[in-house]
């Protein structure tokens, strides 16, 4: 597992300042190809800001980041073509049907009509959603919507998919099912970059980083982190880290 791995995200000294406030203070880390990378931190720790720089919708104040082989600052178009993104707000159109949503999102990533058709059938079959192609997304239960949003983020077969608190506000069973989807996708070789504040979810990741006040305080496999802090759960790791800072 810890042998030499291909790096798909390389971050060096990435910094983001808003006026006098430094949200991200020169963080550096790598993400390996095909792993599930957990990006943890309390609210306001800077994880969303850091992630926005990686997906090219916010410019770094200084430092560098290379995502899927492209520089986020100068090659943001190429970066965008190679990544998928699903945000904490549920991100499909409620007033469009499942089919129309898939067609639309497939379309903006430049998929052909034929590809979209194949993908639509495949997706509905895989998710075992039955006969809902013509149902408006707004009429679906939240759990289904979330699975759909995840699949839509993967339509164009990105190398990396960024998930920004994907399981916010969902019941534990649906969360569990959602993580099964994530595992299946990682198995296909897609790199998963996920932020969450559910510490039990951190246990499912291959490696996690914990951000506190704009700085990455810890980065390793959940197992090693627990050994390092001599605790039994990621939750305790997190609490210990937060307390030390205070």
């Amino acid at each position: 597992m810890e042998s030499v791995q291909e790096k798909i995200i390389i971050v060096e000294n990435l910094t983001k300042q808003f006026g006098d406030f430094t949200a991200v203070k020169g963080i550096s880390f790598d993400v390996h190809k095909g792993e599930i990378f957990g990006f943890l931190g309390a609210n306001g720790a800077g994880k969303t800001t850091a992630m926005k720089m990686l997906i090219g919708i916010s410019h770094p104040t200084s430092g560098q980041a290379n995502v899927a082989g492209f520089d986020v600052q100068n090659q943001s178009e190429e970066v965008k073509r190679n990544i998928g993104y699903m945000s904490q707000k549920f991100s499909m159109y409620d007033d469009l049907t499942v089919e129309e949503n898939i067609t639309f999102f497939g379309g903006i990533y430049g998929l052909s009509r034929k590809q979209i058709k194949i993908k639509t059938n495949q997706l509905i079959e895989e998710l075992q959603l039955g006969n809902i192609a013509k149902t408006k997304v707004g009429d679906l239960p939240l759990g289904w919507k979330q699975k759909l949003a995840f699949s839509v983020a993967l339509l164009h077969e990105p190398k990396i998919v960024f998930l920004d608190e994907p399981t916010g506000g969902v019941d534990p069973i649906t969360r569990r099912q959602f993580w099964e989807l994530i595992y299946a996708e990682a198995h296909k070789g897609t790199t998963i970059f996920v932020t969450t504040h559910y510490m039990d979810e951190a246990e499912y990741c291959n490696r996690v980083s914990i951000m506190v006040d704009g700085v990455i305080e810890a980065l390793d496999t959940p197992k090693k982190l627990k050994e390092q802090f001599q605790v039994n759960s990621m939750n305790e790791v997190f609490l210990k880290l937060a307390r030390n800072i205070e």
Binding site: E77, M86, S87, K89, S91, Y93, F104, G107, Y109
Partner: protein, 367 residues
């Protein structure tokens, strides 16, 4: 291009599946034109008046006949004393009293001067004003005829109302309603539809996609350009076919200017969407910041020339003011571009300014 078409198709789904947008887009223009065209009018028709004729001679009868013959007045009754005037007004039916002094014809003959008094009920100032103007012009007309017959000297006033001889108020309302509707559809609807994507979080998804930000905005705006053009056509056609509003100038020029104004309003809508994060805010800014000034300060309802100076100055920054001038000039006066060049340039300048500000706002958000 294919991506763009997909984007626009999606935008039309949003519009056609939302009953509220549909109503604003298609119900409002028609309702407003009909409302302004038929119900709200500055014209007077069949106003009830009373006559107090102390003279009862041939000349006073001539004037009364003229008044009777006009479609504006209906002589409700005749009264016989000064005291009756007030009680007539208090009853409320009669809006004006025409008073002829004693020996009207004789005075006119000997002194070349006689008095007709027009007394109006000014509880409704606009109506009173109009009545007074109309009666004056009827009497003026009588006097002019008399002067030509008698070949007398003196100043003869001949007034002609150009471009709208019948003073139809609909000629004023069609350009006004068109301006209000285009502003509403273009600025408010686009700002709401863009902020909706922000609120739902889909804007983020779009920005993370390979679509460039300007493509996203263009895709959002294009359907509204299209719908606004249809609206403009509907309004102008209704004015032309139902209310007989002429289109004396070039229809292409009118189309060009309308599209320019639509783009001005759209760029304002985009600017509003960059400063508001929720649909509610966008709507409030559009309604308070755009609709009210458009209605009050554009010259649509209240003449700009009679506003206090500060208001007149402010009216210059209202794009609607310039568009109303343009539309009236083209439709009624039939002028070419050379006469409305200044107004066109102002609209163009405003558009560029709004777009520039939006881009700047967007860039600072990225940084």
């Amino acid at each position: 291009m294919k991506r763009f078409i997909g984007f626009i198709r999606k935008e039309f789904y949003h519009i056609f599946r939302d009953k509220r947008s549909l109503f604003i887009l298609f119900g409002m223009p028609i309702a407003q034109i009909l409302l302004f065209g038929f119900a709200i009018t500055n014209e007077i028709n069949n106003v009830e008046i009373a006559i107090l004729d102390y003279a009862k001679d041939s000349e006073s009868q001539k004037i009364i006949q003229k008044i009777k013959a006009s479609p504006y007045f209906h002589i409700e009754n005749e009264i016989f004393s000064d005291k009756a005037i007030e009680s007539e007004f208090k009853k409320g039916k009669v809006k004006a009293v025409l008073l002829f002094e004693k020996d009207f014809a004789k005075k006119l003959q000997t002194e070349r001067k006689a008095t007709v008094q027009v007394i109006t009920d000014a509880t409704e100032p606009n109506v009173a004003n109009t009545i007074s103007n109309y009666t004056q012009s009827i009497i003026q007309n009588y006097q002019n005829q008399k002067n030509t017959v008698q070949k007398s000297n003196g100043v003869v006033i001949q007034s002609r109302m150009l471009y709208n001889p019948e003073l139809k108020s609909v000629f004023n309302f069609v350009p006004g309603v068109m301006t209000v509707i285009l502003m509403l559809v273009s600025a408010m609807m686009t700002s709401i539809s863009i902020t909706r994507e922000k609120e739902l979080g889909t804007m983020e998804i779009l920005l993370v996609s390979p679509l460039k930000p300007f493509q996203v905005i263009l895709g959002k705006v294009f359907p509204y350009v299209f719908l606004s053009i249809i609206n403009a056509i509907v309004i102008v056609s209704m004015g032309y076919f139902i209310f007989g509003m002429p289109i004396n100038g070039s229809i292409f020029l009118l189309a060009f200017e309308s599209i320019l104004f639509i783009i001005t309003a759209l760029s304002l809508g985009i600017l509003i969407s960059t400063v508001s994060n929720t649909q509610q805010t966008a709507m409030m800014i559009s309604l308070m910041g755009l609709m009210l000034p458009v209605i009050i300060l554009s010259g649509f309802i209240f003449p700009i020339a009679s506003m206090p100076l500060p208001m007149q100055v402010i009216s210059n920054i209202i794009p609607a003011k310039w568009f109303i001038i343009i539309v009236k000039s083209i439709m009624l006066k039939g002028v070419g571009l050379e006469y409305i060049f200044k107004e066109t340039l102002i609209l163009l300048g405003m558009t560029l300014l709004f777009i520039g500000l939006s881009i700047k706002k967007y860039k600072t958000r990225l940084e």
